[in-house]
Every structure is written in C-alpha cells, then in structure tokens.
Symmetry: C3
Amino acid sequence: MEEIGVPTLDGTPVEEDHEKIWRLFAERFHLYAGTPSGAWLRYELEEVFGIEKRLDASTAMEIYECISSKLRSPEFLPRALFDRFNIEVLATTDDASSNLEHHRRIMESDWDGKVIPSFRPDAVVDILADAWKGEIDKLSDASGIDVVSYKTFVSAIENRREYFKSMGAVATDQGILSPYAKQLGPSEVDAVFQRALRGSATEEDGRLFTAHMLMEMARMSVDDGFVMQIHPGALRNHNRFVFERFGLDKGCDIPVATEYTENMRELLNKYGNETDLTIILFTLDESTYSRELAPLAGHYPALKLGPAWWFNDSLEGMARFRRMVTETAGFYNTVGFNDDTRALLSIPARHDLSRRMDANFLAGLLARHVIDKDEALELAYQLANGLVRKAYNL
Amino acid sequence: MEEIGVPTLDGTPVEEDHEKIWRLFAERFHLYAGTPSGAWLRYELEEVFGIEKRLDASTAMEIYECISSKLRSPEFLPRALFDRFNIEVLATTDDASSNLEHHRRIMESDWDGKVIPSFRPDAVVDILADAWKGEIDKLSDASGIDVVSYKTFVSAIENRREYFKSMGAVATDQGILSPYAKQLGPSEVDAVFQRALRGSATEEDGRLFTAHMLMEMARMSVDDGFVMQIHPGALRNHNRFVFERFGLDKGCDIPVATEYTENMRELLNKYGNETDLTIILFTLDESTYSRELAPLAGHYPALKLGPAWWFNDSLEGMARFRRMVTETAGFYNTVGFNDDTRALLSIPARHDLSRRMDANFLAGLLARHVIDKDEALELAYQLANGLVRKAYNL
Amino acid sequence: MEEIGVPTLDGTPVEEDHEKIWRLFAERFHLYAGTPSGAWLRYELEEVFGIEKRLDASTAMEIYECISSKLRSPEFLPRALFDRFNIEVLATTDDASSNLEHHRRIMESDWDGKVIPSFRPDAVVDILADAWKGEIDKLSDASGIDVVSYKTFVSAIENRREYFKSMGAVATDQGILSPYAKQLGPSEVDAVFQRALRGSATEEDGRLFTAHMLMEMARMSVDDGFVMQIHPGALRNHNRFVFERFGLDKGCDIPVATEYTENMRELLNKYGNETDLTIILFTLDESTYSRELAPLAGHYPALKLGPAWWFNDSLEGMARFRRMVTETAGFYNTVGFNDDTRALLSIPARHDLSRRMDANFLAGLLARHVIDKDEALELAYQLANGLVRKAYNL
C-alpha cells in the first residue's frame, strides 16, 4: 500500500511519485482480469476518456498523459461529468452531526444537479467505538441538545433527521454487523447509555444498543417518512495491521454469515406491516437470498430488497441475485439498481452493466415464455428507473 | 388480506364481494411476473380452463365469468379433474387423531381414484403449543388409549399408525424447525412428558421431545414400513400480527438456516444403514444441498432427497437442486418430483414444469456427453415416475 | 460393503471373488450417471484402457478380462503410467513421523519421476484421538527428540519438517474440522499438552490445541518456506457403524458449515500480510466462496484459494467455484487445479475436466468481452500450469 501512495497514520513516508504509482498499477493491471474493478476501469478508460488502448506497462504513460490532460479540461469537472452521465439524483451518506455544508453550497449555487444527503447514524450508535464519546459531543453541538441521557440522545437524533430532511434527504442508512433488532425498556436503554457515557459499556451493551436503535430508527421512519436502509454483515477492519497503519476503510472489511429471519423478527412484527414505510435490506451473504430475504420481502409490505451489493455488485453477482430472489419476491419487491460507489467515474459502467444484466435476465424469461414481451419491456423500465424512483420517493 | 377476503379470527368483517376481490387480484396480477405462483396461474387459465387471454384489469370479469361457468360444469368437479389430470395417487397429510372420514368415504364410493392419507404427528409432538393438551385428548379418544404417560403416548401413536396403514397410508410426514434427533432415556422422556401434561414444559423440553420423537418415528418406520418424510427449516407464524388476526398457515412461515450433518447424526447412525427403511429429507436451505444433503444421501442407504420444496418448487429452484445434488448423490438417491400443493388445479402445471426442467437438465448432460441417450431416456422416466413410485412403495 | 470386499476390522469374512465383485459393480454402474465418479471411470476405461464399450452387466466380464490383461503389461506399471500421463510432480501426504522410505527408494532409483512428500501433522496434533499417545511416541522415535512437553513437541515437529524438506517436500497439509486459529501463551499451551499426555485433555483443550497449532504451523512456514495447505470442514467418521466395522477413511466424512472470517482472523492478522508466505485454503462449504474466501484472498497477500475440492471436484462444482470467486479474488489469487485423488488412473480425467471447464469459463468471458483473446490464452496457461507451479514454488 505504501508503493501506491496510501498515506500512513504515523506519517511514515510513502510513494509520492504519481507517475511511478501509475506505472506500477499498469504493470499489474492484468491481475484484475475477470473482476468488476477491472471491468469498470476498462469501461471508464474507453467510454469516459475515449482511450482505446489497453492499459499495461507499454501504454501506461501515454494513457497517464491522456487522462491528466482530460482531467484538466472543463468537460471533466465533477459537475460536468454529473450532467454528462445524466444523473438525476446522487445521494451521499453523512454523519448525524454533519452540517451538510457541501450540500448547502450546491443548493445555493446556480447548478441544478440534485445531490442529496442521507442520514447515517453509525458513529453515534456504536457505543463501543473509541471515538464514540467525541461523536456524542459533536451531536450535542450539531443539534443544540445537550446529550446526557438516552432521552436527550433520541431528541438529538430526531432533531438531526429533521435537519437532513430540510436539506433534501429521503433516506437513512445503517451499516451493522448483524441485523438483530430488539426494543429495550426505557430504563434498561438509559442504563446502557449511562454506562456508555461513563466508558464502561460491555460488548453485550453494544450489541443491545445497536439492536434497540434499529427499532428506534424504524419508528422514526414511520414518523418522518425516511426510507430505512440496512447494510449488514461486514466485519470491519479485519486486518488490524493495515487498520493501525493506514486507518479506517482501507479495503479490509470481510463479510460474515448473516441471519435475518430471527434477528429481524421483532422489527418486522412491529413495523413490517406498515404500508407507508419502506425498509431496504441489503446482504453480503448470498445464501440468504432464497432462504430468508426473498420470503421476507415477499411477505412484509414494508420490506424491499436492495440490489446485489459490494462484492456482489458484478455481472455474476447481479445475475445470481435475480435468479435467487425473483421467484419468491418477484420484481416489484426489489428496488432496481443503486450502486454505492465512491468513484464518480464508475457510475456509468455500473449502471450500464446492471441494465444489460437485467435486460438479459428478462430476455431469458421472455425466451422461455415465462413473461410476455410487453411485460419484459415494462420490467426493463422498472428495473432501470421506475422501481428505484418509487422506493426512494423520488 | 381483508381486501381479498381472508376471514379474521375475531370476526371483523372482510371483503365478501367475490367479483371485487377478483378484480383487485387481476389488477395486481402483473406483480407475479417471474414467480412460480404467476406461472402456475397462467398455466391453469390456459391449459385447464382454455382461456387464452391474459389476466389483467381489462379481462378480469370476462375471465371470471368463464371460470365460474366452467366450475359449475361436471367436467370441473374434483374427481373429474383428478381423472383428467391422470393422477395415479394423491396423498393428503392428516393429524394423528384424524378418523380419515373423507378417505373412508372415497374408499366406499364407486370412484376408483386413489387418495391416501399420510400420518402427520406434529400437533401431538409439539408439547409447547397452546393446543397440545387438547390434541392429546383427541389422541386418547381416537386411539382408545388413555394417554397419561410417555409409554401410553407411544402406544397411541403406534395404534394410529396402524389405523392409517389400514386406510392406505404409506408414509409419515413431520414439519420441524430443526432436524435435531436425539434418543432420550425412558425415565428422562417420561419426565419431559409429565411436565408437558402439567403445562410446565420448558423450551428445552420441547426441543428434546421433538428430537426424541424423530428417533421414535424412525424406529416405528422400521417396524411398520412407513416412509419417513422430514420437512425442516421453516419458522412458523413469523408475522405475529397476521397470525393473531387471521390464524395459522396464512403464508408467513420463513425459512431459517438448517444443519443436518450433526443434527441427524444420531438418527442416521442408528437407522441410516437400514436397507428396508426410506427417510426422505427436504430442505428450504439451499446452502445444504451440496454441503450436507447430497453427501449424506450419497452415503446412507436409507436416505433419499426430496425434490426442491416450497419456495424452491420453481424453474430456477428445481434447476439449482439438480445442479447442486446430482454430482454427489446421483439421480437414484432422489425421489423424483412430488409437489405439496394445496391447489388441485396447480398439479398439472407443477408436474409439467418439473418434467420439462428435468428433461432439459438431462439434455444438457447428454449434449456434453456426460450420459448417453439411452441413459437420458431411462432417467427421464425415472425422474418423472419410476423413482417416486419406488421411494413410496407405490 | 461386505459384498464389494471391503475388509472388516474384526475379520468377519467379506466377498473375495474379484470377478463377482466386478459383476456386481457393473450391474449397478448406471447409479453413477451424472456423477464425477462415473465420469472418471468412463474416461479411464476409454482413454486409459482403450475400452469403447460401456460398462454394464452384459459387458462386465469382457471388460474385466481386458483390464486384467492390460494391468499385467509393462505399459501399465505405475511408473509407466506416471510417465504416460506426463505428470511433472506428484505430492503425497505423509505422517509427521514417516521415514518416507518409499520416497527415498524412488530418489535412489534410476527413475526420474518426481514424487515428493507433504508434511501432514494431523495425527500428532489431534490430542483427543485414541491413538495420539502412540503417535507421540512415534514422533519421539522419528525425531530423536524425547517429546515430554510442548517445547519438545515443537522441536520435534520442526525437526521433522526439516527432514521432509530434505526429501523434497514443499508443503504442509492439515485436515481440520474448523479453521479456528488462536495463539496460546507458553504456559497455557504446555498445560494443555501435559493434560493430553496424562490422558485428561478436554474437548476444549483439543479445540484450542488445534487452533494454536494452526498459528504455529504458519510461523514455521514463514521460517522454512513450506506452503501451508488447510483443508477444513469435514466431520470425520460420521457413520459410527461403518467406522467401527471397517475403520478409518471409508467414505463417511460429511461436510459442515465452515466459518473463515472470524476463525482465521488472528492467523491472517499475524501472518496474512507476509509476502513470502503462501497459505492455500480449501473449502467444502460453497456458501463461503463469495462471502468469505474470495474477499479474504482478494485482500491478504499470503492467502490463495485452492480449487473446488472433494465433493465439488466435478464439472458443476468447478464451474461454481470460478463463478463465485473470480469476481472478487481474481484468477491470480487461486492456484490452478490440484486434484487430491488416491486413484492414479483418475488423474488424467480430472485434469482434463478441469482444463476444459476453465477453458469454457474463459471462453464465456471472452465472448462477453470481459477479457480479450490474448488474456484468455494467457489465463488458460496460468490456470492449467503457471499458477500451481508458482503457488507451490515448483
């Protein structure tokens, strides 16, 4: 990671010569053969930059120059690309205490691109994290509510959701290890919260508080209409060496087996029958597609399935998703495709792939007379556009 | 559910206008696109009723009239359909205490259709169910044995199995959450049974009693020759609201991950080597096909795999079953296709689909020279007819 | 098993008439339709023996005679077949205390076939096995180190690894139920070892000692350069009746669900970032391919994925492996195909199948423009030869 210039937390020097880093990347680019990362990058080079040569050691610097020069042109400024890509809505995820300054600046600008925030409370919900106390202080500051108890915590969260809503947000998002949901009693949850404030929360406290906050976030969504997104099943910072050397989010999150049927039962029993609520569930555990997620989404009115996510946001991964969930959940309990890329340039590649994959899936059903042609055409629209628009109330 | 006329337990009125319900169903029928329910209904309309128009809002009432009029004709009486569908055997599942009156009436009629019962002891085995004590009273009545102890309970069960056998039954069936099997000692099991009679059985008592009764049912099958069917892995009545409002079996059973290798070990060690016994295992957890079920069925002489079941009784689900189990279990450790529909009219659709899917699977093997043509033809017969006939001793 | 001549431990007579056994096998050979065992045997008969007739009751004895006569010819001596099959390297797995006498005799012979040992310490690591104490005595004898403590145990293991290395070994191999790895402290591990020597080790001791030895084997591999192979997830001797009657390894090992993300974390944190170390992980639990194994191998430099193994060493199984792991792990974090057959004659069939399957997979990527033709050709070489040569430092 040093060789490709990932900065170290302790300031140990890393490679800073961008051309050298690019050459190394180009020399090793064949290692990406057959992977979505490789496919996206090829697509970006060809479709976005118009480069027809394949990236390898021999073409590295020529392509480097070409990209450098294009990136300096006005056509490659982010807002220009946003317009060129024909993006209708881009949603970011933002900490509960964020002032959403960048969103405000976009709103106040003369650019009419729609970039909306989403409410992500993970940092203030994870009472076991080292940084939690500091996050609570930020939450107090941001909300103007002095968070000294569970009750004030909830008020502050509700306050921030309201602010996010005023800034255009339509959804929340939670990243959790397990989708376990359980309502605690008022005194029980405050006791947990007080232990957390004193720095003496146990592992079990952390597990229960996260479970309780899933219930609470659902309750709040019933109130304020936010779509509730749940992304479970990644064990974060698996590689402690990389985590300690390079910090958070350096690619070492690894999925674990995830259980939905029993874990989500209390939440779905309380809120799953709400017809005005939308809960969108994602998974990294494909064994749950046909066993748990499709039956749950086929049954509960509030529940929709998010598309194949992260390690499965790929040709084969997307195809497995459709093959494993459609027969039980149908198409209309899914939400079309929403990628969760951080790479602006990869957006066209990912949506193009998703649309081709879905079109191919529909064509297979049509060829086997499972659906008729007019249904295939309507579904092609729904999967590319209609369902996602409906799911997120856009 | 109120809008489609599902009766409530407390008598709250629900929609009773059949035409209105049908119109609502027709308007929403596109939501079934790509699902087996949708495919079966289309097949039924076209093949059974001869209706070529597609069901939607515009055709709803015309199709309603057509169905109504056909259902009033003698050709659409159940026995006429049974004959038209060329059904050789239809097996029902019946409570241990059932007097099988309807079976008796068929036997005594001049109709020669073969409708046989199967012995399903779930209601008298589930000692934790609210209704259990009442079920034990029924069992006492039906068997003429006063069930006051585990020993009398077993005698009553054996008595009922004998009665079912005299009425043509060839198999038992058990629906359980986990296929955990464990033999308890005589005093241990009676202690559990006495606690259950007193209404003080614990969760663990319930788990152990079910595990013990799996062993006992296998022992009895060795004695009386009944095929033993096990359907594990559904968490029943997941949606408490629907359960309390509409009652049992209203579509809210959700699968859970199921473990066979360790759970079934004691049972397979004791009875799996019996060459005269047939145990048919089903699953709702496809991750066990290649990992556990196929290796177990490939090894134990008594064990056969039931077909893709419930949420997997579908084109893709059946194809995955064959692809995941055949290489390890072979074809001859499976039992062909037996649907478990409650909808008489769906029987031709489901068997037609199963036969086409198997024929396509065999054709794939033939095209790749894995099997020869004569083998493919023989297997086509076996999968459609021979294996199921053999497995159930028909 | 008696009918096909598998010897019983207690000497109860079994069938000894080879022709009768072969006839029985031929009569039942159709039961293997669609299985890899069936496919390998067909391939062997046709490609290795040149027999074009299909094996069944009518051809049984003719084929028997043909095979018998060929097996008596010099062309069918093992070394002749080894040369004919164009095998570059064949690795056996050998107990820690083995004197590798057969390897020595091959080395000292004038035959230049390369047959190398691999270090398999399972028998001396499994402190709960009845035979463990005897295995420790053998280890003392073989190493010349009196194993009376954990420290002397480790010295003896290191001594044997050195001997194996001198005999050409390049890898170790461990068969374990769970890939759980955990380093114990020096006094803790010696306490466990002393309990084992006294015959009083608990189940938990056994679990921890195996977990600790995974860490230790990785440490030793960093030192001596041995590739570390881990084969987890088979519950051994599932069928106690068969085990007690016929002994070890009689085909009754059944897979269990296997967890890698949390279990391997400590090992991967300590050794997974070593660029000089190669750990090759196998699985019998396909649900871990895309969920755990591919993400782990995509991240940790030391980790590579072994090919589809045992019950999945088959056409469909291999195809699932490539489809489930390639997108996240890429091709270059896999090791090509290494079968683990005990049947010399099945080697060509298995490698031929693997190469055809991989070629077909690559052709699919090429046809869909995921890779270019020159990449497909390079990958075809890598998957058949290059990657395995590199992974095992051959």
